[in-house]
Amino acid sequence: MPNPAARQQNAAKAEARKGASSEPLTTMSVIAPAVAWLIPGAGHLIQKRWMRGVLLMASIVSMFVLGLLMQGRVYRLNGGDILDILGFVGDVGAGGLYIVTRAMNWGKGAIAHATADYGTKYIIVAGLLNFISVADAYHIAIGKKP
């Protein structure tokens, strides 16, 4: 038979689980992350977090564009080397920027330039930063963050 302390701990855990599952699923909590992924910073803008949205958009878009200008490589869907797969996952985080880049056939990568490798990393990190931005937009939508 569990002692009172253990019972109290179990009750607290059950309460925490109940709290976690009772987060409201609103339209905004679905739309904001989707929009944030497609257009970096837009998930904050549609929730009227103007300054945060503009700063996120400026940072992520600048980083992605600078990466392209440095002749960075944009990864395609692949099943090869693990680093190539992870590179693709990072790139996809940039959402619309990645889609446009692929559609325009940019981001071929130039071995001739020493800075091309920096560019590749810029593009991957822009995507990863956008993943964080998407999570933040979701937290704002569910009221977990002001």
Partner: protein, 60 residues
């Protein structure tokens, strides 16, 4: 058009963009966001110089 930045400038720009995103997403109030963004930037730049000196020591 090709942009060719030095390693230091590329790292510095990287620090600015990453710090802005970290500051905004990891803290709640405006004041905390600015403070955390500046803290991250200082850590990035400090890391750049530290790594630079470590590489210099390894080289010599």
């Amino acid at each position: 058009m090709t942009l060719e930045l030095s390693h230091f400038n590329a790292a510095l720009l990287f620090s600015v963009f990453a710090s802005v995103v970290f500051g905004i997403t990891q803290r709640n109030t405006t004041r905390d966001q600015i403070r955390y963004g500046l803290y991250c930037f200082a850590m990035f730049v400090g890391g750049i110089f530290l790594a630079g000196w470590v590489m210099w020591l390894l080289r010599h």
